[in-house]
């Protein structure tokens, strides 16, 4: 069909990984479906597993060019490490709109502006106009996950299965910890100081021969007394191990990540799932491209606080898992309501905001003083883990 709308989707992993990549892929399918309702026939061409191991011959630039040859007008590059290549591709193909998720090239601020002593200042090159960034405020989802974990742990010890260490992952770990600490004190009536919250980094988003084995790590957590493991990696290893151990009578849980349907892997062990809904935003962008053109932007989109699970409006959501107990569920809902309350009006009684002081970095230095609210961009570029978290802040 000549007048069909073609868009490309470049994935670092497999489209059916029950995680990050599948979430994006289904976002693309959502676009097709909605456009069809609007009478536009759209076609998505996918390139998955774009990584040196599975596709050594392919680079983002080449794949993008091939997609352009196939008639793609819009291309989503959906992994952190694609950013520089995406910028090059965008420069080479000015007629194609490029959306890179989780990056920040389209953002004026650089880490050096916020943390001059940690990052060297480099004068910023403005990206081409046909380039933009998109990310969801997953920290809210992670906070809920942390809370769910705190409400379910009996040993008072929670493990976080970390991928590689960068600002994004530090942000998520910290958010999960803050949620856990808050709920552990307020709803579980525990002593926040006594809550053990540890992160172990395997070294990459997915297990490879070069990383730690995430199942091994999850086992280490459980063997050392943790009874809930929150997953920060794409595949579902934590949940798998938890499920297996439950079948053997151990009382342990896990919380997967990224994809709405992730709990299906091992429902009995799944406390819930913080997930991305890329569809709505992707649709917006597609429509812009179809209409009077996409305007460069760096978007960091929040959940739809009126209904965090509304498939047509929310960018980030949370669903309870089968393993979440009645009581925990009610308390968790209460916690979510507190977050909503703040988002609707910070002045609200009994409202909770994640990034409100007093907050210290792991090394004890102050991030935010009592009552002070952290600058969102400082959260985006968070240079260290927060105080109270056991685990490395940097790879060195």
């Amino acid at each position: 069909a000549q007048d069909e709308f073609v868009f490309g989707m470049i994935l670092v992993g497999a489209r059916n990984d029950q995680g990050w990549n599948q979430a994006h892929y289904e976002g693309g399918e959502y676009v097709i479906e909605k456009l069809a309702e609007a009478g536009v026939t759209a076609r998505m061409i996918v390139f998955e597993n774009l990584n040196p191991v599975v596709n050594p011959q392919a680079t983002v630039q080449d794949v993008a060019a091939s997609m352009a040859d196939e008639g793609a007008q819009l291309i989503f590059t959906t992994s952190d490490e694609f950013e520089p290549a995406t910028l090059e591709a965008a420069a080479q193909l000015p007629d194609v709109t490029f959306i890179h998720t989780s990056g920040s090239a389209a953002l004026e601020t650089t880490p050096a502006d916020l943390f001059p002593d940690l990052f060297e200042a480099t004068e910023r090159v403005a990206p081409p106009a046909n380039y933009g960034n998109l990310m969801g405020e997953m920290e809210h989802g992670k906070a809920i996950a942390g809370c769910a974990a705190a409400l379910s742990t009996k040993t008072g010890s929670i493990g976080y299965l970390g991928p590689l260490i960068n600002a994004e992952t530090r942000r998520f770990v910290s958010a999960a910890y803050l949620g856990a600490r808050y709920c552990y004190e307020k709803y579980a009536g525990g002593d926040p100081a006594a809550l053990k919250f540890e992160v172990i980094w395997i070294g990459f988003w997915i297990p490879t021969p070069d990383t730690l084995d995430p199942q091994q790590v999850t086992n280490t957590f459980f063997d050392n007394g943790a009874d809930v493991v929150i997953s920060g990696i794409d595949p579902q290893d934590a949940l798998i191990v938890a499920g297996q151990r439950r079948e053997q009578g151990d009382d342990v849980f896990a919380i997967p990540y990224d994809y709405e349907g992730a709990c299906d892997t091992a429902p009995d062990a799944c406390l819930g799932i913080p997930y991305f809904h890329w569809g709505p935003k992707y649709l917006e962008i597609a429509q812009a491209v179809l209409g009077d053109g996409y305007v460069q932007d760096w978007e960091w989109t929040s959940p739809d606080w009126s209904d965090i699970n509304n498939p047509d409006t929310t960018a980030v959501g949370w669903r309870n898992g089968p393993a979440l107990s009645e009581g925990a569920a009610t308390n968790l809902q209460a916690f979510i309501d507190e977050m909503i309350a703040y988002q609707t009006d910070p002045a609200n009684e009994g409202s909770f905001f994640l990034w409100e002081g007093p907050l210290n970095y792991q090394d004890g230095t102050v991030l935010a003083a009592e009552g002070e609210k952290v600058d969102p961009l400082k959260v985006w570029f968070l240079p260290l883990l927060l105080e109270g978290i056991v685990g490395d802040s940097t790879l060195e």
């Binding site: 497999a14 191991v53 599975v54 021969p209 730690l212 199942q215 063997d223 091992a266």
Partner: protein, 328 residues
């Protein structure tokens, strides 16, 4: 002994099981004089098959059998290539390594990330044994596949060193001509043992995907283990007991990597990840004659011989060679 440590040891035994089975399978094959180098790929492929079939049929046993069948077929290819076609076993094995790995990824797509609930081989703590102090928790509180690995160790040891067929088995790997002179059908037995060894490799693959870490994903989590298993066979001097020792040693180091990071010791992940590979080189160094002798000099005279006999690891003399005595 505190729980955490017991748990860690228990996990160690569990996660070593595939290595144990794979290395034992290869031991059987190499004792017959054939090298099956394809392990690293075979493990991935058979793991995928085991999970895929088990998932499709809802029957784990069928999955395991399917995996063993695939392992056997790969072994058969190697046997035919080396015995009938007189090709270099290493070459064929290496190609199969890569091919099998890619096949597992290509045909594994439908099963990637599929639910793993109830996909683990039957878990049964052994009634009385599991209550023994320490060993009970560490060795007898597992799923069936782990016990199978125990059975294999002792079974193979008994087979090789205490039975008449065992004598023939070792002889065709040591001196086929002598075996032939005693009426042993050398090449037929080489077929059989290569295939048996291959099917054990299949069982090892299955013991990942429906045992130690259920499910299927790309890249396969067991990548690299095949090579380690092959090295373990050498380190194990082609003797079941030492092979098991080696397998537990490697698994132990892996477990350590995670444990160390969670401890206060500041070591980069990357360094921890290199440990098993450094160990691989080190063990091969150790069993290479020259080094032993140098090390033994440190020991007191009396112990030297015993240590030497324990460390020495001479491959089956006829390993990797052809025997044409029968095509007459």
């Amino acid at each position: 002994m505190d729980d955490a440590l017991l748990n860690i040891l228990r996990t160690l035994v569990l996660s070593a099981t595939p290595l144990v089975i794979a290395a034992l399978g290869e031991t059987i094959t190499e004792r017959a004089g054939v090298i099956n180098l394809s392990l690293d790929g075979s493990l991935s492929l058979t793991a995928m098959v085991a999970f895929g079939v088990a998932f499709a049929t809802g029957n784990i046993l069928v999955g395991i059998l399917a995996a063993m069948l695939v392992g056997a077929v790969i072994a058969l290819i190697i046997a035919v290539a080396s015995i009938e076609l007189r090709l270099d076993q290493v070459a064929v094995g290496f190609v199969l390594t890569l091919l099998a790995a890619d096949m597992s990824q290509f045909w594994g797509v439908p099963y990637a990330g599929k639910p793993t609930a109830g996909m683990t081989a039957a878990y049964l703590p052994l009634p009385l044994l599991k209550d023994l102090p320490i060993v009970g928790r560490v060795f007898f509180d597992h799923n069936i596949l782990v016990y199978v690995s125990y059975a294999l160790v002792f079974g193979i040891w008994f087979w090789l060193f205490s039975t008449r067929p065992g004598l023939a088995h070792r002889a065709i790997g040591e001196r086929p001509a002598a075996a032939f002179a005693r009426g042993t059908p050398v090449n037929r037995l080489r077929y059989i043992y290569t295939i048996v060894g291959g099917s054990l490799v299949g069982l090892a693959g299955a013991s990942y995907s429906v045992g130690v870490n259920p499910g299927w994903a790309t890249p396969p989590p067991m990548q690299g283990d095949g090579w380690i298993a092959l090295a373990i066979v050498i380190f194990g001097g082609w003797h079941p007991f030492r092979v098991v020792l080696g397998a537990y040693l490697f698994a132990g180091l892996r477990a350590l990597a995670g444990a160390i990071q969670s401890s206060d010791i500041a070591v980069p992940v990357t360094l921890l990840n290199t440990i098993p590979w450094l160990l691989m080189i080190f063990t091969l160094l150790l069993v290479s004659g020259g080094v032993i002798e140098r090390l033994l000099r440190i020991l007191p005279r009396g112990m030297q011989n015993r240590a030497r006999n324990f460390l020495r690891s001479d491959p089956p003399v006829a390993l990797g060679t052809r025997f044409d005595g029968e095509q007459r």
